[in-house]
């Protein structure tokens, strides 16, 4: 298992190097935004993977609440932590892009606001985990809060369609240059691999912590 993790991590890091080259060199600049648009090769994959990870945490929470198997609690904790890191990264990348494009680091736009709410909600749940010592209570309470907190995740994705937003709507794949689409999909795959690696490592740590709690 440990060797497998190392292989996945190494593939992810090598893929990231290739993805950076793809985003900066291989893919053409955008016709309107030029090189500025190259941030989408990390921003979009991070956004997708962040929402997928928080959805994994939500599904794991439901499975913990219904089945009471510890593996679902480990997965919830691991997916939520990595999902929050991706969410913070997403917000920072968005701000870096917003400054030259919108002339501001932050705008009170539905997409930006809902992402901030999503990240803060799950940071709160991680804090809840840190403040509860008894393992069953910690797992159950954080699972309950995750189920409630996840409601915002579909809204984050759909708000640009439902509401007037500065943030652009999802770009149809057919309108993109083939090189752009190739790099975007490749980087999404790489970010998914890297996050799978991080979640697996964090899962192992959560399982180890639980074993230690049982021993005490």
């Amino acid at each position: 298992m440990k060797n497998w993790n190392t292989v996945v991590g190494a593939v992810g890091i090598a893929g990231a190097a290739l993805g950076i080259w793809g985003g900066l060199v291989y893919a053409p600049g955008d016709t309107k935004m030029g090189d500025l648009a190259r941030i989408l090769y990390v921003h979009v994959p991070v956004a997708w993977v962040a929402m997928i990870l928080l959805t994994v945490a939500f599904v794991s929470s439901i499975l913990w609440l219904t089945k009471r198997e510890w593996r679902w609690d480990y997965l919830q904790e691991a997916a939520m932590e990595v999902g929050v890191v991706m969410g913070i990264l997403l917000t920072v990348q968005g701000s870096i892009w917003a400054k030259p494009t919108w002339n501001t680091w932050w705008a009170w736009d539905p997409r930006l606001t809902s992402v901030a709410v999503m990240v803060l909600t799950f940071v709160g749940i991680l804090a809840l985990r840190a403040f509860v010592d008894e393992p069953v209570k910690r797992a159950t309470w954080s699972a309950t809060a995750s189920v409630i907190g996840w409601i915002n995740v579909p809204f984050v994705y759909l708000c640009v369609k439902w509401m007037r937003s500065l943030h652009q709507t999802q770009t149809p794949w057919g309108t993109m240059a083939p090189e752009m689409l190739q790099v975007l999909l490749f980087n999404t795959f790489v970010v998914s691999i890297l996050c799978t690696w991080m979640v697996t490592v964090r899962y192992g740590i959560a399982a180890g912590e639980r074993a230690k709690e049982m021993a005490e």
């Binding site: 709160g124 809840l128 309470w141 809060a145 189920v147 907190g149």
Partner: protein
């Protein structure tokens, strides 16, 4: 069905009796809310137009901050001397406990919200241009949208360490959508609703209420029984 309604009514009655006996608590919560209104007027400077424009926002932020005191207190009394264990021994379903508690908290928030209205009108020169009933409806639904997730998370935070920090940390991000919609609905009551947008904002708050009042009833047993 009748049985759960009867259980819910019994828990609500217990909550209201407790509220009445500890009414000084409600007075303290209301005073805190009014103090925040005063503080917001200092933060906004002396621009009277800006104060009037933001009056609904100040009202809702004051109520939200005060809600953490009221919600936290509603479960503090249950955790003292392990009263919650006794409560769980009663032949009452956890969902009825949740709804009873949430209705008790709703009553406190509505009273505090209604007390804040005349002060908001006087301090920010924000007399409502729309009917008072509309204003009342926006406060009632907004308070209900805070009360349900607030009750749920107060139950979680009450038995954790650093509960005073934890409750706002869990609650504030969650209620952002309902606060935005409530502020808009209240501001339309104050500033006038020329475009007829009040109903749409109130629908957003109502939808938020439906989701959180349903989820609370479904999940509360997991929170109190473990």
């Amino acid at each position: 069905m009748n049985s759960i309604l009867a259980e819910c009514a019994a828990v609500t009655r217990k909550e209201l009796v407790h509220l009445w006996r500890a009414r000084s608590r409600m007075v303290a919560t209301g005073t805190f809310a009014l103090a925040t209104l005063l503080l917001f007027s200092f933060a906004g400077g002396l621009d009277e137009d800006a104060l009037r424009r933001n009056a609904a926002g100040y009202l809702w932020l004051g109520l939200l901050l005060a809600s953490t005191l009221a919600l936290g207190e509603s479960f503090r009394v249950e955790t003292e001397h392990n009263a919650i264990e006794m409560l769980l021994l009663l032949p009452v379903r956890p969902a009825a406990l949740f709804y009873g508690k949430a209705i008790g908290n709703l009553v406190v928030l509505v009273i505090v919200g209604l007390v804040m209205v005349p002060f908001t009108v006087v301090l920010f020169d924000a007399a409502p241009k729309e009917s008072v009933l509309k204003l009342g409806a926006s406060i009632f639904l907004g308070a209900a949208a805070i009360a349900a997730p607030g009750t749920m998370h107060a139950a979680l935070a009450a038995r954790a360490r650093s509960r005073d920090v934890l409750l706002p940390l869990l609650l504030f991000p969650l209620v952002v959508p309902c606060v935005i919609a409530s502020v808009q609905a209240t501001q339309l009551c104050i500033g006038g609703d020329a475009m007829g947008q009040f109903g749409a904002w109130l629908t957003v708050v109502a939808a938020f209420c439906v989701v959180h009042w349903s989820l609370g009833g479904l999940l509360f047993d997991r929170v109190v029984e473990d």
